[in-house]
Symmetry: C2
Subunit: 218 residues, 2 copies
DNA sequence: TGTCAATTGTCAGCGGCTGTCATTAGCCTC
DNA sequence: GAGGCTAATGACAGCCGCTGACAATTGACA
């Protein structure tokens, strides 16, 4: 087992995350002061900034966990899938795993509300988009590696990942602005949006709106 | 003609933009202080914040102009084009117009260097991505209007725009990290990336890397 | 137990940003 | 052209995010 010092550190860190999340959800991100967060955990402000480089960072400590999991899952996927299938099926595979990982730190409902706050707070939204862009980089690199192409010479990995991520973001945005803030609803939104990618790019859209629950492929 | 007061205001505003751009390009965004900007124009710091809500905003005063132009061009496009064609051909159409509009305020090379700074400064990159997301919203709304679908019920407009914007962003990123920082190079990068969208989504990628200058459709 | 190193608290200070209020300067009327 | 009116500016104080530096504390380990 790890030493006392190590455990204490992890404890303060998690306490700070929890306190921050609760305050952000309760009174909003901008209205929450770092002083208030550290007061709730009873540490000095200086200590906070030794754990987190900025007030924003604490808000994304769990988001980082999520993207890390997804990337790992993509990397450990068996070969043989086409790039689109890779991204799509990894999504299917990792939903529960990610949900469980989150709940080890904070309740899932709190995390969901935090996501809403991120989407509605301009400063946080901006940072989230930047993080997503960072993940795109790594995803594109992995796709290129799998397909044996040079990611700097062949635009297709980046193009695919960019399109895929864009669609995912649109889906999350739709989900987080809706009423059903559950993992299942998120999963539903993302998958239905992804399935619309092909039709949306087709030359002529049929006049009738696409069904909310699109037909399953195959 | 406008009064003296109005002209003075516009003058200070443009002076602030120019001074800011030059300082940002010269010593970097983070290393540039608002105090330095206002010192170069000889106004008080308070005045700066009456013109721009934040230090970031002055860096994007021209970006706003660009997206505005593109949106207008999309809106004034004749009907009959498919959604993808709409976005693609508006792009072709507006390159020079936008370039000219920029040069009325600052030299194009300065603007290009500023773009590089935005892409390489985390704080600015984040804000730019947020602005892009805002434009996506409006683009999706326009696409939905043209196709006569409900943007809240039919995910295709958002999906298409998300994919298209993601690809554009990837192209700009590639361009801004390269050596040829000209409008033509940007145009070239964007159009070749957009043309790779279909191939990238196809089930099986051919093993050979796609050509940098892809074959024209049709 | 005593030494060493890691962690923390305290303090001073910078830079972004805002509210407030007095001052200046363009506008408009007589 | 002198007057009042209003918009724009400057000056000041102050909050908040964030950092460097140094001293105090506390776990680790011989």
């Amino acid at each position: 087992m790890t030493g006392l010092r190590e455990r204490k550190k992890q404890h303060t860190r998690e306490s700070l995350v929890r306190a921050a999340y609760e305050l952000f959800v309760e009174k909003g991100y901008d209205a929450t002061t770092v002083d208030e967060i550290v007061a709730a955990v009873d540490v000095s402000q200086r200590t906070f900034f030794r754990y987190f480089a900025s007030k924003e960072e604490v808000a994304f400590s769990l988001q980082a966990l999520v993207t890390e999991r997804y990337l790992e899952a993509v990397r450990s996927r068996p070969p043989g899938e086409s790039p689109v299938e890779l991204l799509r099926s990894t999504l299917d595979e990792t939903w529960e795993s990610i949900g469980e990982a989150i709940e080890e730190v904070v309740p899932l409902t709190l995390y969901m509300r935090m996501w809403q706050i991120i989407e509605t707070t301009p400063a946080l939204l901006a940072v989230q988009l930047r993080h997503a862009a960072g993940m795109e980089e790594q995803l594109a690199a992995e796709v290129a590696r799998r397909e044996g192409v040079d990611p700097d010479a062949d635009p297709r990995p980046r193009v695919l990942v960019a399109a895929f991520s864009g669609v995912m973001r649109a889906a999350f945005r739709c989900w987080s602005s809706g009423e059903d803030i559950t993992v299942e609803a998120a999963q539903q939104a993302v998958e239905s949006y992804v399935d619309q990618l092909g039709p949306a790019l087709s030359r002529d859209w049929e006049r009738h709106p696409a069904p909310r629950t699109p037909p399953l492929p195959g």
